[in-house]
Structure formats: structure tokens, C-alpha cells
Subunit: 464 residues, 2 copies
Amino acid sequence: MFDPRSIAVVGASTNIDAMVNRNFLKPLVDHKYRGKIYPVNPRADEILGLEAYPSINQIPETVDFVVCAVPAEFVSRVVEECVEKEVKVIHIYSAGFSETGEPEGRELEQRIAHIACRGGVRIIGPNCIGIYCPSTGMSFYPNLSKEAGHMAFISQSGGFARGVTLMGEKKGIRFSKVVSYGNACDLNEADFLQYLANDAETKTIGAYIEGVKSGPRFVEALSEAAKKKPVIVIKGGRTTAGTRAVASHTGSMAGTDLLWDAICRQAGAIRVYDPTELIDLAEAFSYMRVLQGKRVGIICIGGGESVQAADECEAAGLVVPSFSQRVRQELLTVIDQVGTSVRNPVDTRPALADSRPFVKMTTMLTTCDEIDIVIIQVPVTPGLYPQGDRVIMGEIEAFIEASKSSSKPVTFVLPTYGSVDVAQFAFKITEKCHNAGFPVYPLVRDAAKAISRMAAYRQMNAVR
Amino acid sequence: MFDPRSIAVVGASTNIDAMVNRNFLKPLVDHKYRGKIYPVNPRADEILGLEAYPSINQIPETVDFVVCAVPAEFVSRVVEECVEKEVKVIHIYSAGFSETGEPEGRELEQRIAHIACRGGVRIIGPNCIGIYCPSTGMSFYPNLSKEAGHMAFISQSGGFARGVTLMGEKKGIRFSKVVSYGNACDLNEADFLQYLANDAETKTIGAYIEGVKSGPRFVEALSEAAKKKPVIVIKGGRTTAGTRAVASHTGSMAGTDLLWDAICRQAGAIRVYDPTELIDLAEAFSYMRVLQGKRVGIICIGGGESVQAADECEAAGLVVPSFSQRVRQELLTVIDQVGTSVRNPVDTRPALADSRPFVKMTTMLTTCDEIDIVIIQVPVTPGLYPQGDRVIMGEIEAFIEASKSSSKPVTFVLPTYGSVDVAQFAFKITEKCHNAGFPVYPLVRDAAKAISRMAAYRQMNAVR
């Protein structure tokens, strides 16, 4: 499924810019997919420079994988051809099945599932965008990274499959496998979880699930996967209106919210509530050194920011201990006392002339046995000082230098105020932190939530 | 205080780029402050083209307002000079007073408060950045908007005074008065609330408060203000660590969190938990038409996004009713049924060729008596279609056109995935929505929280 020798795209269009070409056919070419690519269209000889075929049957060689992008009423015919051709997997992009809520759609879905099952063909979908797997060159969106990584994501929503991949990329996360699997009439969440649990390329698994096909099998697959690597789950449809939306989206039964809490807890998986939280936590798992506890040391530039940071950490279930006299005295050797604090949060002033005290202060915290993790918050307000860009960049570089050799996890928080220019500058320093191996969050509340969940996960796994 | 005839900046520097020049003196010139400006520095004849004076006493004319930016130990001398010169208000930027937690700092603060009080001079601060008032040309940061608006913000944190102003500007909010008042040794939150309650220029008040000087007076001022206009309050120091940070920041006593909940509820003020939430809610109050109830109609492009939107609205306390058969039938005249839903959320497909159905669909919702407010979510993924920028812009324009004459409030949600380029494009369409008079949020959860709080406020005020 993730490494087919050949792929046929049924419904490839003579209109070069059509969605199916843009999102399925062209990315295979762009990603240098290593197998053969066969566009299938009865009215074309050639599409995007590739020889086209009128039907799957007429392709002279073996076809391992089919992308099916034709209207719903033609899909069963395509599945029959897949059976004849001994195709291994068909990804059905087409919609118009059980998610319509109409008996015809449900029956059509059952029919194609039956044809495929009897004929030994496995289905991804229908009503989904399929697979992104950079290591083999499969993709569902133009211009995604060609670099493979260690995060997997399975999703009943195509929009979230795309969205999470794009959000992850922006945070420096690279993916092993992303699967959008829609209505799941054959292959489902349990199959994918089982596979990814044993996939050496995958170190963290994310999932957006609207409903499961078999409760017991799902719980078993989730538990097995969570024993081997962190599994982060968003349950779509946790309210009355959300549950109704789930029925129209993928035709799933949503299940009760409390049940999902219990399932995740028992399986050792981590429940989050939206794609942003999922990526925030994935970022923590992908960048951070191992967390030994939940005592946080905070460095802030700014008093209100310090108060807010302390409040948000404790509200998220972390502990912000007051530093001992010994640590305070040590900090006072590098921090000017006026308008600052050394109690934790350490509230310091901008390093206008000299950022060396920042290196020392950070080293004191990363080696301090009174805390388990360091949060460094630098508000991105370059307008505040002459050459403010340089001042902030100097601070960031000092923090990075001091944190590089730390055995404690360190995370950056860069709240960004102001215009597009400032946002662009913030993007640049965020990249710098990522390249040095540190996670970056826009607000302390986001960092605190991710850290708190990671701490809970570590604790849970230490017990088991 | 907000409209002095003349301002002296004590501690203006011969180093042009010094913080005090950059943040206090130069902005007065840039903002075309209409009164006289007197830099005070014993070692300068002229600063930034303005005649400088060695001390306040030597200024030949009346001085209404003094910005004091000299080290703490010299402040009492400056206050004495203010008394002699019959200055009305002194803003003390200097830190090193009660917030140090040391007896010397506390005594120094008491001493200056005493000198000022006996001499009839009012103090803003110490340990704060003072006033931004665009209508008279006062400012505390370079390059803030010169346009005046209707939002006031008072803050014990200078960082948040700046941050909230900058965040607000980005959202098209303009300010009447912003006051950073730090340790509040004389003028405090109750004074400012009382003033702003009766200030015709101000329609919404925001506040970041770490501690109050007199409980009963504060409750009275808060209630009075909240009777006249929405008052949005962040309480800094709601946890143990936050309370400790408050003590080092402004030397305030934080009070218990439950007490603050009760005070806000009884006064009719709205409590939020961080500057982002404050600006989100201010945006709702500044842009939205009057909200009659909490039934939300949602238009989404994308199925997972629809589920998530429904979940987030209901989780925030809003209601997402299922549309009646009549409304569904009407929607089906403009929405293709495959891969979509008309139950609420309305899950539709991108308007690739023709955005007129979007106009019709939106009008159906804005005139539908089954809902009180419309949320329109458009994911910003321009890479998805050829000329995706144009497709998305066309959708936004159709939505705006249909919403312009709506008597129901309409709000946009524009989740942004991907790179800096996409963020820039999102910024452009956000501006378009703001210019047309609609609020914009990055995520449904942010919009839902703001709407829910606004609905609660309307309900509370309808009852009183």
C-alpha cells in the first residue's frame, strides 16, 4: 500500500489543471515516485507526458495500486476491473456513498466493499484523499515536502490530513506516512494503527477519528500501538452537533464522549481536541529531550508575561516551584535587580548591549535540580529597541547556545505582536530554534498544554 | 492627564536611540502632540531638535504632565520639583520600588506618593509605560496608529499594554486610551475605570489587573463601568505561582481566584484569561451586529472542519441547531449534494468556477430565523486549486457581498495552513473582511469563545 510497484490514476483529466491531476497525478511525477504511473482516461492518449490508457484492463503490465477519481456511479465498475487486473489496493477518492445518509449511497458502498473483498482487493476510502508517503513518492497535495520523517497521521478527514501535514511542515516536523481514509468501508483505523505500531519509520502516531468500525478491535490496536510509541487522538464528534456532522461527513457512528476518554486512558493513548493541539504535542515528542517530571523553570522578558506564564503553566497542571535562596543568589550574579525577578519565573530585561548574561542565566536553569524543564519566553516586539531585530536575534542565539548541551528539555515561546513584517521575522527565529532542535510555541498556554500531556504520558508509561 | 497642554520628559537622553527617547520623546513628535514638549537633561541644550532644560524648575512655562525616566533614587527629587512647578500628573517609568519586595523599595514608593499627594500632583506608576492616546498625540511605543478609536485598555503590565495595542491594531481595532499604570501607588484601576465609564470616546474597556488597592471601591467602579459599556477583565495571578510572580512584578496582593470570578459576575464584567482572548472579544464587540441569542449557523468548506466547528461551538456553550426540512430543501437548490451536507454545519465544496451559489447560500442563512449568528469558515489552502488565491478571494468576496446587508451578526474564521506566503495571503483576506466590517478569527474555537461570552453578556444585561 505504501510502496506499490505501479499506480494507475483512473479519472486523470485532459484538463491539465483538474483537481485529480493536480492533487494525485502530478505529485507522483514531482515526488519522483519510483514505480510506473498510468493515467486512465478513455479520451486521452497522453496526460502530463505519461501514456494514458482507456481502462485498467488495457494497461499491459501489473498494477499494484489504483487511485479512483470518477463519479460514484462508475466506481463499482472500476472496482470490478481492479479485481480482474489483480490490483492490490484501490484508493477511492470519489464521494457519494454512505456519508449522504441515503439508502442508495449506503448500498453502493456495501456493493463495492463486497466486490473488492470477494476479489481480494483492499479499499482505502471511499470519500478520502488517500496517501502521502514521501519515502516512496506518494502524495495527495502539491508541493509537500519530499523529505521523510517519523510522524504518522491517519485521518477520516481529507482536509485535516492536508492541514496537519502542512502545519507540521511549518514546525519542522516530517512525516513517515499520512493516510486519509474517509468512510473506511474496508481498511479502517484498527488496520492502520496495527501497521504503524510496527512501522520502523514511524515514531509518533496521530489520528483524527470520527467513528470506529469495531470497538474491541480498535481498543486492542490502540493499546498495542500506544505500548510501542506515543499515539495522539482527536475524536471528531464529541457534542450533539458534532455527532450529527460526523454522520453527514463519513457516515460514522460517533460514540459517547466519556467512553472515548476512558478508551484513550486505558489504552495509554493521549487525547487532544483539535489539529493544533495534536501538532503542538507531536512537536514536543519530536524535539524534546526526555522529560523527567513536571516542574517548570521559566525565563521571561517582561513582568506581565511572567505572571501570565506562571498562571498558564499551573493551570495546565504543571508546577512552577519557587527557587531556593541558593539559586536566587546565583541568578542575582548575572541579573540586575531593578524591575526584574529571580524567584521563578525569572523576569529579566532585554539584552540590549550584551547577551552573555543570558547564556549564564540559561545554563543555571538547565543545570538546576529544582526543575525538570525550561521554558524561555521572548516577546517578538522588535520595534521596542533600536535595531530590535538584532537584539532579539542575539537573545535567541544566546539562549540556544546555552541550551544546546542541556540534558533537560528546553522549549521556546515566541508571542508575536504586530504586523506581517514582525510575523515574518518571528518565522525566521522560529526556524532558527527548530534547526537547533528546540520546539517553539506562540503562547505559553500552548507549550504548557503540550508539556503537561507529555509529562502525563511519561508517567503513565513509567507505571505500566 | 490625557490632554495636557505641555509635557516634560525627564531623563531624555543625548543618545538619540536611548529607550526613553525612542518610546516617549520621539513618539510625541511623530504623533504631532499638540502641546509643548520639554526634554529635561542637565547635560544637553537640545534633544531631537527640541530645546532641552537642566531641570523642571528651569522650564519657563507651565508644565502639565511629566514623564519621569530616571533611576529610582532620583525620583523623589523629581516629584518635589513637580510639586514646586505645580505639575498636574507625573508618569513614573522608573522601576525599583515596592515590586522589589525589599523594605527600601516600599519606603521609597511611600515617600514619593506622600510628597505628590501633599503637593497636589497625581502619579501614574511607578514601574509602567504610561499613556497612549492617539487623539491628543501621546504614545509609549514607536509607530503605533495615529488614528483614534473606541477601545480603552488599562494594564498593570507595560508589556501587555504594548502587546494588546499591537494585537488590536492588527485586527483593525483602534484605541481611545491605553494606560499602563504599574504599581499604582496613587491613581489606580478604580480611578481609571471611573473615568473611562464616562468617557464618550470609549465604547469598550479592557483591563489587565494584578491586584486592587481597595476592594469595595474597585467593585463599585467596575459595576458602574460595566453598566455603561462592556468591560473585559484579565486577572493576572490566578494560581500559586502566578500570585508569587505578581508580587515581584507590581508588588500587588493577588486575591483569590474564586473571589475574582464572583466579583466579575456580580459587577456584570466579563472575565477572560489572556490578552488573545481579550482582543478576540473586543473584536466581537467592535465589529458585530447585535447578537439576539446563541444559535449558530455554520458554513464550512470541508467535512472534518465542519465536525470540528460544530464540536467547538457546542463545547463553548453555543447551540448548533439542525436545520428544518424547509431550510435544507432551500439550501439543496444551490448546493450539490455529493460530498456535502445541509444539516448545519453546511459543508460545501470550494467555489471553483462560480461563487454565486455562495452568495445565495449565505443569504439563506443570514435571513434564516432558526439561527442568531452565522460563522463562515474558509480554510486558507490556496495550493489546493489552480489559481487558488483567486478561488479563495472569490469565495470571500461572495460571502462578504451576501453578509453586508445582514441584520444578523456574521463572523469569519480563516484557519491558515502552511508557509509565510500563505500567512501573508491570509493577512490580506483578513484585512478585506475587517474593512467590510466583519470580525475574523484563526480558529472556530476562538470565535466560539468570543461569541459565547458576548451572548452571556447580552443576556446578563437584558436581565438587569
